[in-house]
């Protein structure tokens, strides 16, 4: 059994000697790779949930375009690119990357959820075979093209799955389930890699 060890605390009149240190949910878990597929943390910056005010969807798209350079995505779509992306997220949208411009407040309600999610980039030539073991949605290139997103299950976890390139997907799940997510994907990666050697 480990003993608890008190930290040295020296209060010095208003000056912070202590500092809160940021820690990512994926820091100790990624990157990993197996066969042709690799997983890495997608360090996206700010993540904001955008809920359109009632009847303001069209205006919201314009404001978003002016502020961040991408239109509001259609259902099941992603707009923008790495660094500034907007993902359809079911009832709302996820703005990933920039800190949201205050102009958005006139047409939308914003909620900072930067620390609520684990964001993983899964890429490799056989990524579709890996996902076929986890996701009950057809993610083959012919029907699930770049810019396509789905909210679905990744094994047992509710998540968001977007194709961001020919061979790469962005996977978003709640932060607390990062370990299970990585475990489940890694198992599928191992299985696909083992089949290659058959």
């Amino acid at each position: 059994m480990k003993l608890y060890r008190p930290l040295p605390l020296i209060p010095t009149g208003g000056v912070h000697v202590l500092e809160l240190i940021a820690k990512s949910p994926l820091a100790s878990l990624l990157p990993i790779s197996c066969g042709s597929v690799s997983l890495s943390e997608d360090v996206v910056g700010c993540i904001s949930l955008i809920a359109s005010k009632k009847g303001q969807e069209a205006q919201l798209s314009g404001v978003l375009k002016a502020a961040h350079g991408m239109a509001l995505p259609a259902t099941n779509r992603v707009t923008g690119r790495a660094g500034a992306r907007c993902v359809w997220f079911g009832q709302q949208y996820l703005l990933m990357g920039p800190e949201p411009d205050p102009s958005l407040n006139s047409v939308a309600r914003l909620t900072d959820v930067s620390d609520g999610y684990a964001v993983v980039l899964a890429q490799g030539s056989e990524i579709e075979h890996v996902l076929a073991r986890l996701v009950p949605v057809d993610v083959s290139r012919a029907v699930y093209k770049r810019g396509q997103t789905a909210r679905t299950l990744i094994q047992h976890i509710n998540g968001s799955l977007s194709r961001v390139s020919e061979t790469a997907f962005q996977i978003i799940v709640f932060r607390s389930m990062a370990l299970t997510l990585i475990h489940d994907i890694e198992r599928a990666m191992q299985s696909v890699a083992a089949r290659d050697r058959l």
């Binding site: 259902t75 679905t152 299950l153």
Partner: protein, 93 residues
């Protein structure tokens, strides 16, 4: 079984949560008679044929959906967003 979500398209049953028949959308007034509340809360038909159910796309877009399907053939006949159906019903009143 696969169900239709108006937002996400056809999806595996495992993504959905079942609530009740779509009669749940027509909530009685607070002062409605007990018999009306009884029917709303507890009394259900068990049709062999077409039924309208309320499902929640829990592992998907979080939409509540009215799905009509045939309990005999298992055909999924139609799917509408509950919110839209409700609003259009209000409009008709």
């Amino acid at each position: 079984m696969r169900l239709l979500c108006p937002n996400c398209g056809e999806r595996d049953l495992r993504e959905f949560y079942y609530q009740s028949t779509a009669e749940a959308l027509i909530r009685p007034d607070l002062d409605a008679e007990d018999a009306v509340w009884d029917d709303y809360l507890h009394n259900r038909d068990n049709p062999a044929g077409k039924t309208e159910d309320l499902w929640y796309h829990e592992a998907g877009c979080n939409a509540w959906i009215v799905i009509s399907r045939n309990t005999v053939s298992h055909d999924v006949l139609d799917a509408q967003l509950a919110a839209r159906k409700r609003l259009s019903n209000e409009g008709k009143k």
